[in-house]
């Protein structure tokens, strides 16, 4: 198969990982606990990031691409918010994305400041796979619900 030339900087897609910091710790399935509260963090999806998501998935619809205050964020940005929220506490390694369960209460507007909060809702081992579930709630700064996202992943850790 033909090798693709690697061009430094092209394809960088850092959306959702800006909460990582020195205090972020590697995700350790053994140490994580059901009911554990995840940090409450501010989260803003900028319009250029919304456009990146369109580019990423090749969904090109005016509702996402117009650069106005009435713009709409792609629903998949809630998935990215969920990963971003978990990343606010844990550095997530290799995983398999298993299940998404979400509902919007209204559409997210690119550029608006929101707040993410939630907790680890379950962890379990099944057929030698290590599952983690968490919930992310997204509110406006005026406490208005925007979406909830319940996420299940398999942590591809080595069995201990």
């Amino acid at each position: 198969m033909e090798k693709t030339e690697v061009i430094e900087g092209v394809g960088a897609f850092p959306v959702g990982h800006w909460h990582s910091s020195a205090s972020t710790q590697p995700l350790d399935w053994d140490k994580i606990t059901t009911g554990e509260i995840l940090p409450t963090v501010p989260w803003t999806l900028e319009q250029y990031e919304n456009v990146l998501f369109c580019f990423f998935s090749e969904v090109r619809h005016d509702r996402y691409l117009k650069n106005t205050l009435s713009g709409v964020a792609m629903p998949v940005t809630a998935l990215w918010a969920s990963f971003s929220h978990l990343s606010s506490k844990y550095e997530v390694g290799p995983i398999i994305d298993v299940e998404h369960h979400f509902r919007f209460f209204r559409n997210l507007k690119p550029g608006e400041t929101t707040v993410l909060s939630g907790s680890i809702t379950a962890k379990y081992e099944k057929k030698s796979h290590f599952y983690i579930e968490w919930e992310t709630k997204c509110h406006s700064t005026k406490e208005e619900q925007i979406f909830t996202f319940n996420h299940t992943i398999i942590d591809l850790r080595e069995a201990s």
Binding site: G11, F56, V59, V72, P75, H100, H101, R103, F104, R106
Partner: protein, 124 residues
């Protein structure tokens, strides 16, 4: 949503996949199963596979097309599982079946006609 019969297919669309963007991703955790054919083949896949975040937007769009923005963004409960991979040079077929006026079965088949994503949308 048009039509009223139960168990009626109300949406079907096939989309060719692509992975041009991710192949150039030089940032960690590259290489991975979404960015590198060799890496994916070493782990038992035919080739690099699509990431969920590239595939599910098309399922979301199908629902918005079917229900309208106002219903989709008004507490419609959406739940689905990813159960089989989609090849980076394969295709997806999105199929939506109405079970009742408020319940839709969601299916995404991969290029081998195997179920890749299965779920339910419940309109409030």
């Amino acid at each position: 949503m048009s039509g009223s019969a139960k168990n009626t297919e109300v949406y079907r669309k096939t989309i060719n996949c692509f992975l041009g963007w991710s192949r150039r991703n030089v940032y960690p955790p590259h290489p991975n199963i979404h960015t590198d054919h060799d890496f994916a083949q070493e782990r038992g896949f035919d080739s690099a596979i699509m990431s969920a975040s590239q595939v599910v937007p098309h399922l979301h769009e199908a629902l918005i097309e079917l229900l309208g923005e106002q219903i989709f963004f008004n507490q419609t409960d959406i739940r689905y599982k990813m159960i089989n991979p989609v090849g980076s040079e394969g295709s997806i077929t999105i199929i939506i079946i109405r079970q009742s006026p408020t319940k839709l079965d969601l299916k995404v088949n991969n290029e081998h006609d195997k179920l890749a994503i299965v779920g339910v949308a419940t309109i409030v």
